[in-house]
């Protein structure tokens, strides 16, 4: 489904973020990207989301090279990907309901579809009671649930989660990870970047490990190794 071929990313003047990274992700897979801060995890996810361009190499999504797509077509690619970030990236002027509904509005969903699906997804992630609150009125855990709801609502092919539990306490961390597991069990591909050893060890899923921009390990059942 997703393929990285010999990806190198160098930030000017000479900061090597990724060096000759190659791997494939199958449809429906749950893959972790592990590594310390600065290893290149976020850069890797940004390349898949076409927020950055590689210095060398290709990123293929469903067989198409994403960095050769015309700019006008990028929104359509991004609608196939649900993204969850450490800093939530919620629209501050919209309520929880409106934030989640926004993802459906951009794909041109009908009002009836939005009114039917948004309350359901809010219930799935457990924030139905906060539908009319603004992000600044929510706890960190609630904000991240909102972000996950928004990432899920338009039924994307893949969820990219970049340190989604970075700002959360252990209780919320556990709940968010369980949520992502359930999403994956329903068929959505999940790529989770994290440096949290508890998450890596608990999940036991395929884990690729980055170190100073290089892919050093690719374990089918990953464990956190120093």
């Amino acid at each position: 489904m997703i393929q990285l071929q010999n990806i190198t990313k160098i930030y000017p003047p000479n900061t090597i973020a990724l060096e000759n990274v190659s791997f494939k992700i199958k449809e429906g897979e749950f893959m972790l990207v592990a590594g310390r801060s600065g290893a290149g995890k976020t850069t890797l996810l940004k390349l898949i989301l076409v927020q950055e361009c590689p210095t060398k190499g290709k990123v293929l999504f469903e067989g198409k090279e994403v960095h050769k797509i015309e700019k006008s077509q990028l929104p359509y690619l991004r609608r196939k990907i649900g993204a969850v970030f450490q800093d939530y990236k919620l629209l501050s002027l919209k309520t929880v309901y409106e934030n989640v509904a926004f993802a459906m509005e951009v794909i041109g969903a009908l009002d009836e579809e939005i009114e039917r699906d948004v309350p359901k997804i809010l219930e799935v992630v457990g924030i139905q009671d906060r539908a009319n609150n603004f992000p600044k009125e929510l706890s960190a855990g609630e904000r991240q649930r909102t972000a996950i709801a928004r990432a899920l609502i338009h039924r994307p092919r893949v969820i990219l989660a970049d340190e989604p539990t970075g700002n959360l306490d252990p209780y919320n961390t556990s709940e968010i990870i369980e949520l992502l597991k359930r999403i994956n069990e329903l068929g959505t591909t999940v790529i989770l970047a994290t440096h949290n050893k508890e998450i890596i060890n608990k999940l036991g899923k395929r884990t690729i490990t980055l170190e100073e921009g290089r892919l050093v390990r690719d374990d089918e059942e990953g464990r956190f190794l120093l």
């Binding site: 929104p75 002027l93 919209k94 338009h154």
Partner: protein, 302 residues
């Protein structure tokens, strides 16, 4: 398509409402700009009128000999009206000159007694000539002092008034040019300030734009709410500035009439009513939308 437009407009209105302080600041700036531009426009019209009135006071008079026939004077008048530089030629007969003199000085016994003692009309028939430019008077004076008319003309009253005429035109030209320069400067400053205000607004929304792009919104879906927010601000600013300008002119009219009796400032407002509405509407929408459009382009390219 209709659904998308509806959503864009709704989003724009929501943003406008939910950013109360920012919306108020943006509207205030727009109201100031629009009112300023309107006042500049009307001031320019009033100034043009005042300048042309002042210039009309500058004129030269041509006095004809006592034995000159009216027919000959009218022929000369016809020739003068062919000059493109001449705005107006007024004939004042000997009898009219006498009547005007008596009317102006009827309370002055000495003058009236002197007139009675003379026994005849001492005044000469004349042509009063008004030109559009100071330079034109010299041309007209030279024409009148030619050989063709030496038998008709007693005196051309130009050289005595020459310096006054030139000074009047110089001062009014300076005022006119200064008015245009001040207008251009204020309009440029106005555009720059509005652009910066909107750019600051967009900058504060930079993250919202980035998030919208990541979620898969198209450029127009991102741009639309900002433009509709600009339209709402512009429309509101238009209504407020129209009320300010119209009430100001109603108030000023009575005050200015005290200093310049018969001068109705309100008449300019009424005669240019449609132009004022058009100017304010164009400025309101232009200043509300264009800076948003230009400023957001930068962040959509990222």
């Amino acid at each position: 398509m209709f659904t998308i437009i509806k959503r864009i407009l709704k989003s724009g209105w929501q943003n406008f409402k939910r950013q109360g302080n920012l919306s108020f600041a943006t509207c205030s700036v727009l109201v100031t700009k629009i009112s300023l531009i309107t006042f500049l426009f009307l001031s320019h019209r009033i100034l043009d009128f005042a300048i042309s009135e002042i210039r009309l006071r500058a004129d030269i008079s041509v006095y004809f000999r006592q034995d000159c026939l009216e027919k000959e004077i009218f022929e000369l008048k016809e020739k003068l009206t062919e000059f493109s530089e001449i705005q107006e030629v007024e004939y004042i007969s000997k009898e009219e000159a006498l009547e005007n003199f008596i009317e102006r000085h009827k309370e002055e016994k000495t003058l009236m007694d002197s007139l009675i003692e003379l026994g005849s009309n001492p005044f000469l028939a004349s042509l009063n000539i008004k030109a559009s430019e100071a330079d034109s008077y010299e041309k007209v004076a030279s024409f009148l002092e030619g050989d063709d008319f030496s038998g008709l003309i007693e005196k051309v009253d130009f050289y005595r008034r020459r310096s006054i005429i030139e000074r009047v035109f110089k001062i009014t030209s300076f005022i006119d040019n200064a008015g245009v320069a001040v207008s251009l400067i204020l309009i440029s400053v106005s555009i720059l300030l509005t652009y910066n205000t909107i750019k600051l607004t967009i900058h504060s929304q930079k993250e919202e734009i980035a998030i919208s792009r990541l979620v898969g919104a198209s450029n127009w879906f991102i741009r639309g709410p900002f433009l509709s927010q600009g339209v709402i601000c512009g429309a509101l600013a238009f209504l407020i500035s129209f009320m300010i300008v119209s009430s100001s002119f109603y108030f000023l009219n009575s005050k200015i009439s005290i200093f310049f009796p018969g001068f109705e400032v309100l008449s300019f407002f009424k005669s240019d009513f449609q132009n004022i509405i058009l100017i304010q509407l164009i400025c309101a929408l232009g200043l509300g939308i264009t800076p948003s459009f230009i400023a957001i382009r930068k962040y959509l390219e990222i």
